[in-house]
């Protein structure tokens, strides 16, 4: 495709490999959410559970489609197509394709390592383990690669006619990355019961602004961070509403909590609120003052996030939230149910203090600054 002569109508066309990479990203995310629910509801698994297949389908789809794209570009591509790629050991292809391929290989490498890990240290003792980290790096690579593929299209779009399509796709890609972060941090920011302890705000402040600021800077949408946060929440809600429809029986002893349906993931964080604040701030401050913007964004994120989550987690622990819509109060089959499920955890050992909030604000500002650097680069990616 010659960019200079592309008519406006075709500008928003989404090439097949971008679709494939986004579907692969989604598949990996769906697989991870499904797998976590599987472990909490049924317990017993093999490599061949549908959840695992969805994760690895993501890897295979991204790896094969981007691998094919690279081979096609290198050996049968037009001069324009080759010129729109970066070189890698003599091959040429878009940067996003290389990141997808790297992610797919990392996912494949993690499988035998994970198998050995289970044999050596037990079956999925912890969500965060070295082989799971490699797997997570792999599917994050695919999701990042998909984002980069869309970015190169957006940034090369001469008429800017496709900015809405690409912007929405970018926000969606960023939402998948937000989901990844939320899943990785499930033990710190996942459950509403954690919403009144210090670590909750430090982790959220360190982890989310980087992504929200990056997408806010790179995507050409009126409300990019808000859109990404809305997609993030929508993905969680769809998972909550679908999973709890399906019957499930625990298949591992000891069963302390005889669940009858797939356990839903925790209700998502209300990231739309701080994201909207960041979008507003970005409009007001504008480019060129990124250091000041980072500090303001860090403070704004923490203030809004604290204000919203502090009270919303109280609501989630109340009886009003124990219904299909919010999907709360769903616990693993191996949990011994007790009053703890309606209480805030660790508030004595790790309360929210001014000192802790100051640290969280510092983390949020640093996270926002890194996000802006990253976003500035992403706004310029052309290949």
């Amino acid at each position: 495709m010659t960019a200079a002569v592309a008519p406006a109508a075709r500008a928003a066309a989404v090439p097949w490999y971008v679709t494939a990479a986004l579907v692969a990203s989604t598949s990996a995310l769906v697989g991870v959410l499904w797998d976590i629910s599987w472990h909490r509801s049924i317990g017993r698994d093999t490599f061949w559970t549908p959840a695992h297949l969805a994760i690895y389908l993501g890897g295979v789809l991204a790896g094969v489609s981007c691998g094919w794209l690279v081979l096609k570009t290198t050996f049968a591509g037009t001069p324009d197509e080759r010129a729109a790629g970066v070189s890698f050991w003599g091959f040429r292809g878009p940067l996003g394709a290389w990141v997808c391929i790297w992610g797919a290989i990392a996912m494949i490498a993690s499988a035998p390592f994970d198998n050995w890990w289970h044999n050596a240290y037990g079956l999925d003792v912890k969500v965060l383990s070295p082989p799971h980290t490699i797997l997570a790096l792999g599917f994050t690579g695919i999701q990042l690669g998909a984002l980069l593929l869309v970015l190169s299209l957006q940034n090369r779009d001469p008429t800017n006619a496709g900015r809405r399509t690409y912007g929405v796709l970018l926000a969606y890609g960023a939402a998948i990355l937000l989901q990844n972060v939320a899943i990785m941090g499930i033990e710190q920011v996942g459950f509403a019961n954690l919403g009144h302890n210090g670590l909750y705000y430090k982790v959220a402040a360190g982890a989310f602004p980087v992504l929200l600021m990056a997408v806010a800077r790179a995507a050409r949408l009126p409300w990019p961070a808000t859109t990404a946060a809305a997609f993030y929440m929508a993905l969680s809600l769809v998972a909550i509403w679908i999973l709890q429809l399906f019957p499930a029986t625990p298949k591992l002893a000891p069963v302390f909590n005889p669940v009858t349906h797939m356990v839903a993931p925790p209700f998502p964080l209300l990231l739309v609120a701080p994201a909207a604040a960041l979008d507003l701030l970005m409009r007001r401050v504008g480019p060129g003052r990124d250091w000041q913007l980072s500090v303001a964004a860090g403070l704004a994120f923490l203030a809004v996030f604290l204000g919203v989550q502090w009270f919303f987690t109280e609501f989630l622990l109340s009886s009003h939230a124990r219904n299909f819509f919010f999907g709360v109060d769903q616990w693993d089959y191996s949990s011994r149910l007790g009053p703890w499920r309606y209480q805030f955890w660790r508030i004595q050992g790790d309360p929210v203090t001014p000192q802790g909030l100051a640290i969280a604000a510092g983390l949020a500002a640093a996270s926002a600054r890194i996000g802006l650097w990253w976003g500035n680069w992403m706004a310029r990616v052309q290949r």
């Binding site: 010129a83 790297w102 290989i105 044999n119 002893a253 302390f256």
Partner: protein, 515 residues
């Protein structure tokens, strides 16, 4: 989970498929020493069965269970399900159907998922023409093994890591050097230099990440190694008894036991005794005693010492917790000189000072028992091989050469103790196998209301499990289901009871790794 009762806290978690034949660097076990697998022979209702459960070595892990039908019966399905000891557990998960092993019409196999450290009973149910029968087989889920990374896998992972490392650096270089340029535009020298700098910086970051990953792995490994099951610590001493003779004092001095907030459930009697204590003379193995120390308090147990030859002894103390968790405590003991007198502190105590008399025929060893009767090991001609069922069949003949009848000895026709010469293996067997009968009984009697510690123990103690039916005559041929776990030189002691006397016979066995 921290704070779990009976083994779970010590055992932490982990799993291994034994079939992978992975390298093992540490081997300890719970009940028994160096012999992690469970052997059971008994009745599942109308169906006599032999059950073998291969310990996964890690928790959570997959244990392999095989069920052999010992009598021809019309059987439909064989079902297995592990039930955790905790009375707060909800209904057990659905049972698994054991698959028939191809080529063997009486052997069934399944995988058991043991997800939490501690005591389980495996319910083996047989459905068939004679109805449904169930046997309970107690199993301890504890982490016992630490695996090395096999070389081919290690090399493969290293190769993939190197590929990913170099690939990541190449991507970083491309990202900085070319990705922000318009298609077709060539990078200038400044951008090229910047790309190399970014690559170098990324290499440093990635190297640090790898070092961090390695440290993480090491930390997980160290935590796992420290969580490997260790039995409670005990110390043994020998002193003078008030009325002459010697008294052995064994103290459980492990802080996890002496601590008032201890997580362990109380002890329950097994065959009528809270503790079965065995002494085996080191190296020569020519001194052996099976004693039943009396509890002085919850940590101290005492027994008078038989006139064993002086020397250094290994001490093994079998105890069973109310949860059904059985463990063997290990200690050493120095006996200076033989006691001049011995008044057994318990009527079930027995000992043997002589080494076994090797028969000229290797396939048949005979031991002369103290009452003049003979205990013969009918071991056959085949060599004894690791992990292959050992021919542990013994026959007692009276002094007149006729088949002898036996009295129940602590509820059993016979007891067998097996020790390897270096002490790495010690196991206490019955014709029912390696299981603790008290643990099995605890699971049979367990009720949902048994959340208060000691309730179940009281009911168990009220049942007179130890003495058996007085006067009952049992046939003089006994067998023990077992397979030796490791190669080496072993000594076996078989104990029976006749005319009120405990009789002990000793035997030797060489166990090979392969045929």
């Amino acid at each position: 989970m921290v704070g779990e009762l009976d083994g779970a806290s010590a055992a932490v978690t982990r799993g291994v498929a034994r079939v992978l034949a992975l390298a093992v660097t540490v081997l300890v076990t719970s009940a028994h020493v160096g012999s992690p697998d469970t052997y059971f022979e008994g009745a599942a209702g109308p169906y006599p069965v032999r059950v073998i459960i291969r310990n996964p070595g890690v928790v959570p892990g997959l244990a392999q269970i095989t069920v052999r039908l010992l009598a021809p019966r019309n059987v439909g399905r064989v079902l297995v399900v592990p039930v955790y000891w905790d009375p707060r557990t909800a209904a057990p998960p659905p049972a698994d159907v054991a698959e028939r092993v191809p080529g063997d019409s009486t052997l069934y196999s399944a995988a058991l998922w043991l997800m939490r450290g501690g005591s389980y009973s495996v319910q083996v149910s047989i459905e068939g023409a004679s109805g449904t029968g169930t046997a309970l087989v107690p199993v301890m889920a504890v982490a016992t093994r630490r695996l090395e990374l096999e070389k081919p896998l290690g090399v493969g992972l290293l190769g993939l890591s190197a590929f990913l490392f170099i690939g990541a650096l190449t991507i970083v270089r491309g990202a900085v050097r070319e990705s922000v340029l318009a298609p077709g535009q060539e990078p200038d020298q400044r951008r090229t230099v910047r790309a190399w700098m970014a690559t170098a910086a990324s290499a440093a970051v990635l190297a640090l990440a790898l070092i961090g990953g390695r440290a993480w792995w090491n930390a997980v490994d160290a935590a796992y190694a420290s969580g490997l099951f260790q039995p409670l610590h005990g110390t043994a001493t020998v002193g003078e008894a008030p009325g002459g003779g010697r008294v052995l004092r064994f103290t459980i001095d492990d802080t996890s036991w002496t601590n008032r907030q201890r997580q362990w459930t109380p002890l329950i009697p097994d065959h009528g005794h809270l503790m079965h204590l065995f002494l085996v003379r080191k190296e020569s193995l020519d001194g052996f005693a099976h004693l039943h120390p009396l509890p002085r308090d919850s940590t101290t147990f005492e027994a008078t010492v038989p006139p064993l030859p002086p020397g250094s002894y290994r001490l093994y103390a079998d105890i069973v917790h109310e949860s059904g968790f059985a463990q063997t405590l290990v200690a050493t003991l120095q006996i200076a000189s033989p006691a001049s007198t011995w008044h057994p502190s318990d009527g079930d105590d027995g000992w043997l000072a002589n080494g076994p008399q090797r028969s000229a025929l290797d396939h048949e060893q005979a031991a002369q028992l103290a009452d003049g009767s003979t205990l013969t090991w009918e071991r056959g001609d085949a060599p004894i091989v690791v992990d292959v069922e050992a021919p542990l069949r013994f026959v007692v003949t009276a002094p007149d050469g006729k088949p002898a009848l036996l009295e129940p000895y602590m509820g059993m026709p016979a007891h067998a103790m097996i020790a390897r010469d270096d002490g790495a293996v010690f196991v206490h067997l019955h014709p029912a196998g390696t299981i603790s009968l008290a643990a099995q009984q605890a699971f049979v009697l367990r009720q949902p209301g048994d959340t208060a510690r000691g309730e179940l123990g009281k009911r168990l103690a009220a049942m007179d499990m130890g003495s058996g039916r007085p006067g009952a005559a049992l046939p003089g041929d006994v067998s023990f289901p077992y397979a030796f776990p490791q190669p080496g030189r072993y000594r076996l002691w078989v104990q029976v009871k006749r005319h009120g006397r405990i009789l002990t016979g000793g035997f030797d066995a060489d166990v090979r790794l392969t045929r």
